[in-house]
Subunit: 150 residues, 2 copies
DNA sequence: ACAAAGTGGTTGCGATAGCAACTATTCCCG
DNA sequence: CGGGAATAGTTGCTATCGCAACCACTTTGT
């Protein structure tokens, strides 16, 4: 079977995506560094802040963060040391531990969030036309649905 | 100044992008693993294959790969051990070394490339409408231009 | 022509994170 | 109820990669 190559337009989309994504992430991360957070920490705090009682089972949190259980154990070391999150052993299930946002963690998130948002706006969202915004939303959702569908 | 939040449409674009990109990369990487390559190795081989004499100065290669010089030194260890790339000391400038694609490296790339392309197609490109393809190309190019403009 | 500055590459160290193996607890089924 | 399977979390090991320090070579300025 002959290989069906990418059209110039397709190639441009692929290359622009692949070359730009990493740089964009680094830039966003750089803006977050002034709060002593990296992207992983920020995501962790953000997800906890939106959860019931601002806490989650380690396991579920790992899934949300796309980390393995062991990866989360390691990441927790950092935020625990900074007292942004506390660890709570479940009384109902001896295997389970919860990560809970502390007041300090919540305050830091509240401080950092507007600046993070501003990064996202100025580095990405505000550069895109409404049509492009829509295409990003629908496009990435299709890609995501396809990945989950495996 | 009041924080200007993201509109639902903007939020959807941002979340879809941020949540999907990592998963997509992992899926593409998984498809590459059957050739004993990770994405970094593949990129390295691909860039060398398109270069004059299939070789590049370490320094320039690092830039293309978005690695630091030290990062490239480490990545080279892997492909050198696999004999996919050879190292050539410059005779004109004693500081300079070149990375050059070996025949083995070129053959492996030639084998892997169609499958990689097929991954990219089936996991991303073929899922997108022509309008979305175009929006990805223009959108990411704008983001990239803005990042370089700093 | 020679010292100082610049450039290219490597190395030690530290941070992140996955895998496999392990422990502890709970669930399920006969 | 008792034992095997499943689940939750941790730990040792490994791989990647950046930073800072370092070495070697080259360029520049006087």
């Amino acid at each position: 079977m002959a290989t069906k190559w990418l059209s110039p337009q397709e190639m441009e989309a692929w290359l622009a995506f692949i070359e730009t994504t990493g740089d964009l992430m680094k830039a966003i991360e750089r803006d977050l560094a002034q709060y002593g957070l990296d992207r992983g920490d920020y995501q962790l705090l953000a997800i906890l802040s939106e959860s019931e009682d601002q806490q989650m089972r380690m396991c579920d949190l790992a899934d949300r963060l796309r980390l393995t259980r062991s990866g989360l154990t390691r990441r927790m070391e950092g935020v625990l040391k900074k007292k942004l999150v506390s660890r709570i052993q479940s009384t109902e299930d001896g295997r389970v531990a919860f990560a809970q946002l502390t007041t300090k963690g919540f305050d830091l998130l509240k401080t950092a969030a507007p600046h993070h948002l501003e990064s996202v706006r100025s580095l990405m969202i505000d550069l895109l036309s409404p049509a492009e915004i829509k295409a990003f939303a629908t496009g990435f959702n299709k890609i995501s649905a396809n990945l989950s569908a495996e």
